[in-house]
Point group: C2
Chain length 308, copies 2
């Protein structure tokens, strides 16, 4: 059995799985244990951004558990853990999900709490042991909390998540959590890298409503603020598409999955049909539709009816 | 689903399973939850003694989980828990054993730490939440720690167990942990209720060594101090047996399972054989045999040889 304790999150790691592993490994080392963080897969674009922003090294890739001492974070399910976990020594588990099917032959440290993020629990453990979180580690833990709780909008968010995020923000010297969070979700969605055309066509469908060619596209976002600064570009591009491709109208749904509503961008010679369909006035080429999430069930039927 | 949270230990409850349930239920109530302690079976003689000594009520008997909210203590195995646990809502688990096979459909509070006793962890939780343990509850938690750690002699004992036991002892106004612990194990062993004759005959065998009738009895104890004040009685009774039942000699093993040694009481006309067998002198009808635990393997063979 290797001496070092590998701290590792779940397969297909997200920001919390990688950042809570780094943070917990640091805590174990501060407590006199010998540990290093690991990851089970490639970091996503959000995680890369977070590690670069706070100048923290990417942990080494580890997928095999045989002969290793491991501390699992952010999961307690066999299907999500390292290969051959039964040939490893599980030193502990810190998680915020439902209790999974991992068992151990001996007593271990197992701390699962129903909070929004594993990094919240790791922050509590730093506090419990009276160890100050290093500045850069505080930064990445804060990002993990903002990401997992969808900037405190997810129903999984607890008071502890807010409390720890505020403490970590103070240490990391970050004042505006909202704008850091928005930045994270921009990175995650890949919107930053996509051209306006790519954003539009990634989920776009043509319809024939009573002989008229109508296009309806959709982009789903955790917050409309992610796309706020690109709305004018999108409208320009939609108008160009309408003219070049002979649409009667194009409707583009900016759906806020957290607020459960859609801002519908409207590009049409006349707003009469869409205003009839949804009973609301178009203002600045836009209608906000409270509670509307589904193109198929909530947008197509009223439009089709209004065109007929 | 019932509103109240039942806090309950494992089947065939020991002192820790009942006392940690009472203590954790009290903590949950202090934190504003609605909870009551329960037990899955009859208390043993030690637990009864503990609850009577500190004037704490025996929790209600609960064996069925259907439709209940439950907080499990001192176990995380399906085989040890309430019937129909899959029809209950598990609110949390606090344990000090290996991680068992109980899973949950939702995130819960699961705190398992590799300490000697669940009550140690519950004491840490009181401390974490800044809630003072009530005097009587401190008394029963202290007893649970003394019992589970065999008065700090078990290899499962940790620094945390000692630390919490000392804090609880201070609250409960108990100075002599050793004598309280000895009292507990006396209650547990049932020695207090048994007559001297019952103690002797409960595990007693006759042997024929080269035509001589030799009796060898054994009692296993977590500490020889449990029986210290009854040694003279036992010797008197052994002498009576020897005369009435025609033994050449009677040897009675007082085996200390924690120290891994045996005090051999000797009742014989001559000590020559037993002194030859073990290479030690008999003093006050007694020889201490370091490392001797087994009658069959470590006492019968040297005696048989010495008699031949």
């Amino acid at each position: 059995m290797e001496d070092v304790i590998y701290v590792v999150g779940h397969k297909n790691p997200d920001t919390d799985s990688i950042c809570s592993a780094i943070a917990l490994s640091g805590l174990l080392n501060s407590l006199g244990l010998k540990s290093k963080p690991a990851r089970q897969g490639e970091p996503n674009s959000e995680t890369k951004f977070v590690l670069e922003k706070f100048e923290v090294d990417l942990p080494e890739l580890v997928t095999e558990a045989s002969g290793k001492r491991v501390f699992l974070v952010d999961h307690s399910e066999i299907s999500q853990t390292l290969d051959n976990i039964d040939k490893a020594e599980i030193f502990g588990i810190v998680d915020h999900h439902k209790i999974g099917d991992i068992t151990t032959p001996n007593p271990v440290y197992f701390i699962a709490l129903p909070y929004g993020c594993t990094s919240t629990i790791v922050a509590l453990l730093y506090q419990y042991f009276g160890i100050e979180v290093p500045e850069r580690i505080a930064g990445i833990m804060l990002c993990a909390i903002l990401s997992d709780t969808v900037i405190f909008r997810s129903v999984t968010t607890t008071e502890k998540d807010r409390e720890m995020a505020e403490k970590l923000a103070k240490i990391a010297g970050i004042n505006d959590l909202e704008s850091l969070g928005i930045q994270l979700f921009k990175e995650k969605s890949g919107i930053t890298e996509k051209s306006t055309r790519e954003i539009i066509v990634s989920d776009f469908k043509d319809f024939d409503f009573s002989g008229k060619k109508v296009g309806i596209g959709q982009v789903e976002l955790v917050s409309l603020s992610l796309i706020e600064d690109r709305k004018d570009e999108i409208l320009r591009e939609l108008r160009k598409m309408k003219d070049e491709e002979g649409y009667t109208a194009i409707y583009f749904m900016l759906t806020d999955i957290m607020k459960e509503g859609t801002e519908l961008l409207v590009v049409s010679d006349s707003n009469e049909v869409v205003e009839k369909a949804f009973g609301k006035k178009v203002q600045n080429s836009s209608i906000y539709l409270e509670g509307v999430m589904s193109r198929k069930k909530q947008v197509v039927p009223p439009l089709e009816k209004a065109y007929s």
